[in-house]
Symmetry: C2
Subunit: 369 residues, 2 copies
């Protein structure tokens, strides 16, 4: 039996917590000092439902860092090696954020509203502190703060249908990683086509805690015949899709190159980024290790609660950081950080789980591609 | 029944996690992306044991931010209004850390090793990012990083006895919030007289993950006849003692004055602090609300999982953020943030718990004083 979670004010409730509880949440994790559901019926049942129906996810823990003012774009470009110069005002960019050593501090989605107003939709670290620290240190002309904005994700193959019913048919024309405003009950919310699954879907940036329950209720009322359910990022599905989890698969100890994000580190913008010199060296030398998708043989592996060592012919070769039994692929899907000498697709490695050694193979692509 | 916690690599293990599990931990919270035990036998049984015996606490989640280099002391003084100019190299100071608005970013303990080397032993926020951001923004001559240091707390009335048996009699002469080096198995560790209880005790800053289990085992071997047990910060005991919990009782929304830390904001050093102007205004006007110790009447209150509204004659008067039934005081002990008009000792207020309204009284001091 897993341990219990002691809930306190410090593990913040969300605008949707009452609805999540009423939907029968069984387990949480803690993400950005906030409750993030992990299980409703079971991880496997939730998985099958996500891949065939539509779910509503409380991902309020994807907190926003709002950067507002004349220096906003300049500051955002200091954070990341990704070139933002061609980004439109309705675009979202996945941006690795690095420090002066090139180590990743977060892997958020930047949501550009205008040149002087951005949201950074963050993974699990207090990126607000880094952005505020830089802004104060350089006396930049920006405000940096956490607004009352809580993303609600609509994910799954029927997400277009559900969204059309609540926000009108035109929402389906929204392109991937673009955002626009929608009206609801006299309020205007930013909606993006995005989300932490590969089943398709949207994220509604709900502004104002008081608007959380009405929008949740409207989605459930509209989607009853679609079998809409409360869900959450699903461990199995996200590994199948190759989606990385900051803190699990990569940390401050890793560069974007090691995280397989070299394509975001090209071009002139690198020079404006705090980590430009370190990343330049990494680009020339190549990373020493890199994120790989890994197929672990045999029966279902246990829960991966801490990194599992990987060896090649008995020598250390890296670690596995996420793993789960996949019913659809009939194998254990996994993500790990593998040393350069052993990262080629097809390499046969050993993964040392708490239940013993397993044979495993490096894959060229995520499982679902 | 409380919900389960889904454990993953992102919720970091500590050097002591195996021993904590073997000791029968039942529940955790998550603190600085790390597992922090909350219950062994039960919160009440753990409480009685803590107040009569001696416990060993895995408080690795009090991560260290190491600041090293010629500008170290200058940078630390930028973080806090507390005057550090008279601090000796063997002292620990409790320092509110504020941003430019005077809002609290953390309430760590600063451990001074020398003018150019400090540890900041942090509460639950990524203070590393703020300190790094300021250092980079100002191009200061310091390294800022998280070292492999995991505090282990020895708390309870028999803590002197246990520490003497493992580290020699002289350890008992260590004064409150002073630190010194002790030898263990050929290693040298910093030990401070400190800890998040008011039962007396020490914190051992264990350097090197590999040293965690040997030191844990030595303490348990030496303390068998003292009935030493694995423990953790205890909700009831810390409220009785008036110890504040960052994220529960105060947040970025609150100033040090509101958190009752006005005594740390005096003197010339305020000028060097990032938040000096904002704090100067707060000092002149006085805070609008302040931390209070609160006695809640009636039977045991439910678990305080989110702030409870406080009213005075039906008007909003603040909130309660921590509360628990105290067997020793035979009442519900609580901490809350109360508006200026109602914070005088003896004021009768209403606390609105999920189980209904309760009569309550503001106290002049924490329960154990």
């Amino acid at each position: 039996m897993p341990p219990f979670l002691s809930i306190s004010q410090r593990l913040r409730n969300t605008p949707f917590t009452h609805r999540v509880k009423a939907s029968g949440v069984k387990a949480y994790t803690v993400y950005n000092h906030m409750l993030l559901p992990t299980v409703f019926e079971s991880v496997e049942a939730d998985y099958h439902h996500l891949k065939s129906k539509v779910q509503v996810w409380d991902v309020s823990c994807q907190r926003q860092v709002e950067v507002k003012g004349p220096d906003a774009t300049k500051l955002i470009q200091m954070l990341t090696p990704r070139n933002l110069s061609k980004m439109a005002d309705d675009q979202c960019y996945y941006i690795p954020v690095v420090d002066e050593t090139g180590g990743m501090l977060n892997d958020p989605v930047a949501v550009k509203h205008s040149a002087d107003r951005w949201w950074i939709s963050i993974a699990d670290s207090d990126l607000l502190y880094w952005v505020k620290g830089l802004a104060r240190g350089r006396n930049m002309d920006v405000d940096v703060f956490e607004p009352d904005v809580s993303p609600l994700a609509i994910q799954g193959p029927h997400s277009n249908q559900l969204m059309e019913r609540v926000f009108g048919e035109e929402i389906s024309s929204l392109r991937f990683f673009r955002h626009r405003k929608v009206d609801f009950n006299g309020h205007s919310f930013t909606v993006a086509r995005s989300g932490f699954s590969t089943q398709g879907g949207f994220e509604i940036y709900v502004e104002g805690t008081e608007n959380g329950e009405p929008i949740w209720d409207a989605l459930f009322a509209a989607g009853q015949d679609l079998d809409v359910r409360a869900g959450c990022p699903n461990l199995i599905e996200r590994i199948e899709g190759g989606l990385l989890s900051y803190g699990n698969d990569m940390t401050r100890e890793h560069t974007p190159y090691e995280a397989g994000m070299g394509k975001f580190c090209k071009g002139a913008a690198v020079k404006d980024c705090i980590g430009s010199e370190a990343l330049q060296r990494e680009r020339e030398n190549g990373p020493k290790r890199q994120i790989c998708h890994i197929d672990i043989m045999g029966k279902a592996v246990p829960s991966c609660e801490a990194a599992w060592p990987v060896t090649f012919n008995g020598e250390p070769a890296g670690q596995v950081t996420s793993a789960a039994w996949s019913p659809d692929f009939d194998t254990n899907v996994a993500i790990g950080m593998i040393d350069r000498a052993h990262w080629d697709a097809g390499t046969e490695i050993s993964v040392h789980t708490p239940d013993g050694r397993r044979d495993a193979v490096i894959k060229a692509l995520p499982f679902n591609r």
